[in-house]
Subunit: 238 residues, 2 copies
């Protein structure tokens, strides 16, 4: 597999996708046109407007972008794509449209066969086994939480460490929420901090970026892993 | 209706339900035993452990607590209850158990007929038309997002104002998330800040507490309303 699964599109103080420019050029090297999936509609943005933002960024690297909504048949668009990028927004809105258009199987099959795939935020959530660990509000109903399953775990993007002194708010921390998940589920969760990503090459899944990631194997086995670690190896050891 | 729909169980620096003691005594006045619904399982807590915490707090007001899980038939428990409290935790875990036990209809019917009902957080979310505006992680799958509908709007509990300087995090603000919801739905959303609650008396729904609440009628009509406002009147004016 050829994967770039990023926690976020934009790091604090940076511009859209700027910290990933070299990674994008590497992943989509030699590919003239990448298919963009704008279904996550951040802030309710239209597919056209979202695609335009992405096209502008990718043009800096000489890569054309075409939105999946611009094709008569989205399934064919995926079947024929040379590379795919799914942007962030609301995971429920994204997954609903993937189910409505019956795209999960074809997308999963192609990625597993080596198609270069990039996701940020919601687009990374769907690379996991299920979308159970999204941080998004369930603003639309999805037929199922099962997602692409190209990673052997789930993703929690935008992971935030508990900051009890920062906010006068008694809401659950991210850590608490993921642990609650593990009371009901056996799927491991990889929590990616801002600026972290997973690089998938063949059967290896390397943690990239400057920060460690938090891997929740189960309630009794939670580890901080360092950049460069092969997550695939870690998971298969279990 | 006789309602106490609170944003949170615990205000910053306070103890569990302490800021609501007088309200609890008022709502459940003359009722010796209140039925507690512990299904939201905060931090994966057992029904017994959660019920014990609530029983301890209510005993200060001379009110007995019995957990719905202690009854052979939970539907009968609701049918015969003199008052009901649903505690916070994970809204998905709560709603799944309500559906699994087929309790939504009987609960809604009894509350609409005047049964004193108190909810905090997830227990308040379910008083709305749907659970679409919960902040919780979708750690289990629910059959449907439709909830009790005893309020003519949805609740977003624990509402947090945008704080761009506080967190170096590019995630969506609560305001952004609720606005995204309104791109796909027509149901108004009442966002309750910590320490705010709605007091329902007959056909009126008063905002209580010290803070204003944010009412999202639609994308073009978002208002800050002051404590004492009758939300029912506001909604029916629309």
């Amino acid at each position: 597999m050829n994967l770039l699964i990023a926690s976020t599109s934009t790091v604090y103080g940076g511009k859209y996708l700027d910290y990933l420019t070299a990674e994008i050029q590497n992943l989509f090297s030699g590919i003239g046109e990448v298919l963009f999936i704008p279904y996550a509609c951040p802030s309710g943005m239209s597919h056209d407007a979202y695609t335009e933002i992405v096209a502008k960024k990718f043009s800096e690297s000489g890569i054309k972008i075409k939105g999946i909504h611009q094709f008569a048949n989205p399934k064919d668009a995926i079947a024929q794509a040379k590379g795919i990028f799914t942007g962030g927004g609301n995971t429920f809105v994204l997954v609903k449209q993937l189910y409505d258009n019956d795209l999960l199987d074809v997308l999963s099959t192609r990625i597993k066969a080596g198609l270069p795939y990039m996701g940020t935020s919601a687009g990374s959530n769907i690379a996991g086994i299920s979308m159970h660990n999204t941080n998004d509000m369930p603003i639309v109903q999805v037929p199922d939480y099962k997602t692409l399953g190209v990673l052997p775990f789930n993703i929690n993007p935008h992971y935030l460490d508990p900051a009890p002194d920062l906010l006068k708010h008694m809401g659950e921390t991210r850590d608490t929420r993921i642990k609650e998940y593990l009371h009901y589920n056996q799927t491991p969760v990889v929590a990616l901090r801002e600026g972290s990503w997973i690089e998938g090459k063949e059967n290896q899944l390397f943690l990239r970026g400057k920060l460690s990631a938090r891997v929740y194997f189960n309630l009794n086995d939670i580890r901080e892993i360092e950049p460069g670690t092969d997550l695939s190896h870690l998971i298969h050891q279990k």
